[in-house]
């Protein structure tokens, strides 16, 4: 988390509809996967998109990457409109906008060594040629905490955490200004996840990166993000600074999410709100506010009129009743380590990261 800079990525009213039912199906249906999303990410800033499965957060990331074509709306990267650019003309933008996936195995060619994968990438983008390719690949691997010698290995020879490091090196290779992390640490074991989270934060400071951090894990989001946007059924329902969202959530859905996050060692209180039912079928979203069937505060107006995002002074919230409902109380404050024993013991584990030997100036400034 560093001081944010100028606006870098600006998304306005982005819409992605998927048509369900092929040419032979009787009824055509439309899924509003992304339903009018606007957001911005500033330089050196992390914006987290958080939500449960089916909320459209991954589709949003992919549409921004132009891996999926948007139905309508605008994606603006440092002042340039991306939605109208096509084909090879996208290449320079691809350099600025990179992605790290949940399953790095799926994003690495199993028949190419890491050297070949990263080398091709550098050559295609004209970032290195001849002998400098090998050097640069070694340098990238060391940046992400892998030995330069691992370039000779194939993806299957790496563990899950190491593979994610390769995935990050692949994204870093083209000196991006923003990386979309789609559940980048979700599939990893806790101890490996901590290493990757630390790495992502280290390289953010080192290279002045911005992240669009897509995750369902609220604890990781709280740790990583400067700002948070909560999505429900294709729409952003609340957004604001991380601290505000986590200490004073306004939307009933955000409150419900925070109520049920299991915090290790926290006393579980009984007055938390456990939502009933599941996320509704996105084919037939409820009328009015999408959240109304599960919302304990819903009134008639919520079933008829869809709320728009309005300012609370601290952020934006899409709820008719945000200033009428009682203030949220954290049902399970984190455990206290009164004598600081645990913290002192844990301090022995901090700073263990296979630190990227401080990067020589050239690596950081080749852009």
């Amino acid at each position: 988390m560093s001081t944010p800079g100028k606006p870098l990525l600006r998304v306005e009213n982005l819409v992605k509809h998927f048509n369900i039912g092929g040419p032979f199906s009787a009824s055509k249906q439309v899924i509003h996967a992304v339903d009018g999303v606007s957001l911005h990410v500033d330089e050196r800033e992390t914006l987290a998109i958080v939500g449960e499965s089916g909320c459209g957060k991954s589709t949003l990331g992919r549409v921004i990457m132009r891996l999926i074509e948007p139905t309508s709306g605008s994606i603006n990267l440092s002042g340039e409109e991306l939605t109208t650019v096509k084909g090879r003309a996208l290449l320079p933008y691809r350099r600025k906008l990179q992605m790290v996936f949940q399953d790095p195995f799926g994003s690495l060619n199993p028949r190419m060594t890491v050297q070949e994968t990263l080398g091709d990438l550098l050559r295609i983008h004209g970032l290195a040629s001849g002998k400098s390719v090998k050097l640069r690949v070694g340098e990238l691997l060391e940046t992400v905490g892998l030995p330069a010698s691992s370039a000779k290995r194939y993806p299957h020879e790496f563990s899950g955490g190491q593979r994610q490091r390769v995935g990050i090196a692949r994204a870093l290779a083209v000196n991006p200004s923003i990386i979309v992390c789609d559940e980048a640490v979700s599939a990893l074991d806790v101890s490996v996840q901590a290493q990757i989270v630390n790495l992502l934060r280290d390289i953010q400071v080192e290279f002045g990166l911005s992240y669009l951090f897509i995750s369902h894990d609220l604890m990781v989001v709280r740790h990583m993000a400067d700002r948070v946007a909560v999505m429900y059924l294709g729409r952003i329902i609340e957004t604001g600074d991380t601290e505000n969202i986590f200490s004073r959530p306004r939307h009933p859905y955000t409150r419900a999410l925070l109520d049920v996050v299991p915090i290790p060692g926290a006393l579980r209180k009984d007055d938390r709100m456990v939502l009933k039912g599941d996320v509704p079928n996105p084919l037939t979203p409820p009328a009015g506010c999408h959240f109304n069937p599960r919302c304990p505060f819903a009134i008639n107006r919520c079933r008829v009129e869809a709320p728009t995002l309005q300012s609370t002074g601290e952020g934006l919230v899409a709820c008719h009743r945000w200033n009428e409902i009682p203030a949220w109380v954290d049902p399970s404050p984190p455990p206290k380590d009164s004598d600081g024993r645990l913290e002192r013991l844990q301090a022995r584990f901090v700073g263990n990261d296979p630190s990227p030997a401080k990067q020589p100036a050239e690596a950081g400034t080749t852009a």
Partner: protein
Amino acid sequence: MHNGTQTLRSSAAGVSPSETFAEVSTVSAAAPLMSVRDLRVSFPSEDGLVPAVRGVSFNVLPGQCFGIVGESGSGKSVTSLALMGLLPPGPGSIIEGEVNFGGRDLRRLRPEQMRKLCGSEIAMVFQEPMTSLNPAFTVGDQIAEVVVTHEHVSVRAARARALELLKEVRIAAPERRLDEYPHRLSGGMRQRVMIAIALACRPKMLIADEPTTALDVTVQAQIMELLRVLQGEYGMSIILISHNLGVMSEIADEIAVMYAGRIVEQAKSAQLFENPEHPYTIGLLGAIPMPGRKRLASIRGRVPDLHALPSGCTFAPRCPFVEEACRQIEPTLHPTDLQHLTACRRAPLDRVL
């Protein structure tokens, strides 16, 4: 003299060469419902035998929720499968040890005796409800099948019982769900159906292996709440296996932390979270993002390869508190506090602070 006793005591706690398993298990008055003694499981592989579980012992008391937590490859799931006799008896696999349940050693039961016991007295819920449910049969039929098999009642009575069970696991519109196929249900509802099947014969023990791992947080909360309520209503014991320490702290009374095929620490839930003794537990808790935590603890290196376990303590190569002796002898689980077992020769760690 005072000094002398202290040295003596601390060295005894540090080495603890010869505890028997009875002494090792946490002290308690009630007779355990299940008692596992020195469970060992090895699988054959190209590089020889892989020791997946290397001597695990624990007791589960009636009505208690016993949690087993660990990362991938720690042996927690293999342990749970071995308890139920669900590991394939493939050539070369070795399963040793005792699993005592209600006076019988489950490991010595004949397959048909085991089948009778599974489902009626011990039941299991897995991570993937979709793969455990048969897609070709309705939910009602699958629940009724268990009831008919174990309680020898009429199909009509079993169906009525199935409906009752769907109500018990709080499925909305149970009459309608009874005749639906699993693919029509959401992940959370499928897991409820699995729990309904598990509870069909009012088991004394439920083994839940990562029951909420594939579910969203709001649904996860529903399932954990359900397990907690049902545990109270039925008074059954639960063995909860999970990688998620947050989920553990929701319902577990006592928690065992596994690393490289062994229990490295075991304590009452609150004690484990507030005063962990084993360096692995300490590192693991520090690696979880928490409010106010600046940088996450990072356990250097990675989980050891089970083919080539380091000599001495298996955590020694990654441990910031390591000393030479740790690399020589593998420490056994020994009491470091009241009802608190730790397999670390340096525990209690307050000495090193």
